[in-house]
Amino acid sequence: MYSNIVASRQWARLACFCRYVSTIEGQTLPQAGKSSDGISPPPRISRSPTDILQALAATVGTDPTAAHYKYHDDPYLIPQSNYRKRAYALSAEAGRKAAAWIRDEHAELFTMREWDPPMKMKTPYFNADPQIEAFAPKPIYNDESKVTEEDLRYTIENALLEDSIKVFELLGGVNNLDDQLKLSLLQLLCFYNEKEPVSMEWVEERWFSAATRDRHAATWRVGGLAEKIFTAMDPKTPEAYCCIIQGMAKYFQAERAHVFAQEAREKGIQLSTTVYNSLLGCVGFLKEGVNLRIEALKGLLHEMNEQGLSPNSETMSACLRSISSWGGGKMLQTTALQIVSEFRLLGIEPTLSAYYYLLCLFCKEQGPRIDILTNIIADLEKRESIKATQATDTNFFITAMGVCSDHLQDVNLAERVHALLMKDDNYQLVGDAYKESIYYRHLVTVSCKYAPFEKTTELLDTLVPNIYVPEPTVMEEIIRTLEVGGAGARLAEAWSQLVVFGHAKRIKLVEKLLSAFCNCYSYQEEEVKAMIRNAAADILKYGQLMEEREENSDRRSPSQKYEIIYVKTYS
């Protein structure tokens, strides 16, 4: 009886397996030609596992009135000011780090289940199906650990820079490695300039990392491990040369990079296009004066031509990057346009980075107003999709919006830029938290100054406070707009916004708000008048509270000013 059941179950399994196989078979038939009955099903399109999820997600837009999904959906836990947004996201990540530290310190506890029956205890047994690599403990390397080349390969593949140096030392330095491994370690060191990168795992830390502008200074570590490995390599392969030159060029050790490039050329070593791209990016460090620099740039491009290397889109952005960092002026601008048209002839379209450098070159703060952005946006709108290829691509949208706001003062163009950013997946190009907030600062400012009142309030309603919290200067602009528009109710609300955003202690801002109250008060409806009175009373109360607090810390308070304006509001 019992065996019968088992047999039937196995039969069922077999049948299931057969069905499974047959469906797979059915799916893979592409049916290229027409079949006998005239029906020709289209060939199967292969999908990735997340394609359906992405299709589903595309049907739902983002809800701007909700907090970002990294925050918990609870009134107590939704951040309202920039400081809180940052603090909450980073503390959650700090908790994650604490847990990861415990996992790595006690790695032996995280490999098998303690409550398994004793017979299972002996074999490492993974809890989850599917097994997830990211949840497995990471190895810790110190002076006592026994390492093999496999460990070095692992650390290099996962870009664990300090660990890989440790393992490298434990393995006994340069002489005990095979060439392939030596090369990949050299590549890692050159790419990161021997500085440990922030791991991909810590999303928030990368998002909120202080915006360090690309410093055009030689930060290459002279005489470091990378150079030691390079000198120890014998024979020096073309890959090794490419790697060390690119590393030096990336971190602006320009002269030595060019010396190495010269050396390679003399030895007859073929350099790659990417090496020339990086050399083009730092060619300005060799020469002084615009003319000489342009000569050197053209010289390098000629050299590429002689070597039979075909340029790519990165070559163009490297050229433009150099040119835009040499200042401004008619000559550089014409050279840049020449380069763009040359590359267009070759069938290479400018990337976002190239456009970013063009904007930097043409739209100077003090310079004459030059409208190249309209054409750029028209070109980008025509493209089917915009893909990020370089890190500097994320600078484009913030710069474009800055140009709309300060340089061109054109709200229609700003709206087009914003629509482009919101299209498809383009929002990824916004960069990081710092860039995002500057982008919105420009957008809100230009909208407040030049857009019709209804449009501005609509924009503010969608952006504030979940997507963007206005900084004090922007808040001033908003208050001015509300005052001009005569929106008394919104002005009254602006006070509570000031408190929530943490700007309530800024005297200048509160004064602006109060004077806006005074100017609008007379022609509002009774209800709104009451709201304004309440807000003003609240400001006074807040001021007194601050005064009491500051009496303890013995500082002068501005509440007399409040009182004067308050009286004026009531009269």
Binding site: H72, D74, Y88, S91, A92, G95, A99, A100, R103, I132
Partner: protein, 166 residues
């Protein structure tokens, strides 16, 4: 609990078993269910949440289960593992959010995703709460090796979840 396992593992269990087997009761069965029910106090001041106020026979009528999974269905997988894991999660969350959790901890499993829901008090700052959220999620997902998500709601004080006093 530990001593029970020790007794179970000790070898002299077999010699005891006939003694257990030979016992039988002649008294009438006492059909009084007491588990999951709370006694009324003299002063009528014992606070009960909605979950506690409803005895077990109201499950699926007035209240629902605290663990949601498919392990107890026909051909369900990982029956005992799921139960023990759930208990581990409950204890871990209660200990990590010490004195903050004021409801039962609900554990919902979908595929390999585990969602843990609870109501917590606003006794610590949001920053600390976020730290605990990150810590709990990461440690539990590393321990169980499947993604764990916390779904919390906050209340001002324990009194907000009190349904009645008995």
């Amino acid at each position: 609990m530990n001593s029970l396992i020790k007794v179970a593992q000790s070898s002299n269990l077999s010699q005891w078993s006939p003694v257990f087997a030979s016992q039988f009761h002649t008294s009438s069965a006492l059909c009084r269910v007491v588990s999951g029910k709370y006694r009324i106090t003299k002063k009528r001041d014992r606070p009960l949440t909605y979950e506690m106020a409803n005895p077990p026979h109201f499950i699926a009528h007035r209240k629902t289960w605290n663990s949601w999974n498919t392990s107890s269905l026909k051909d369900g997988l990982r029956k005992s593992e799921t139960a023990v894991e759930d208990d581990f999660i409950r204890r871990f969350v209660n200990g990590t959010w010490h004195g903050l959790v004021c409801s039962e901890i609900i554990i919902k499993r979908q595929f390999n995703h585990i969602r843990v829901a609870a109501i917590v008090r606003r006794a610590v700052s949001p920053t600390k709460m976020y730290f605990l959220i990150g810590y709990t999620e990461e440690l539990l997902s590393n321990w169980i090796q499947s993604p764990v998500t916390l779904e919390l709601q906050t209340v001002d004080s324990y009194k907000d979840v009190v349904f009645k006093y008995i």
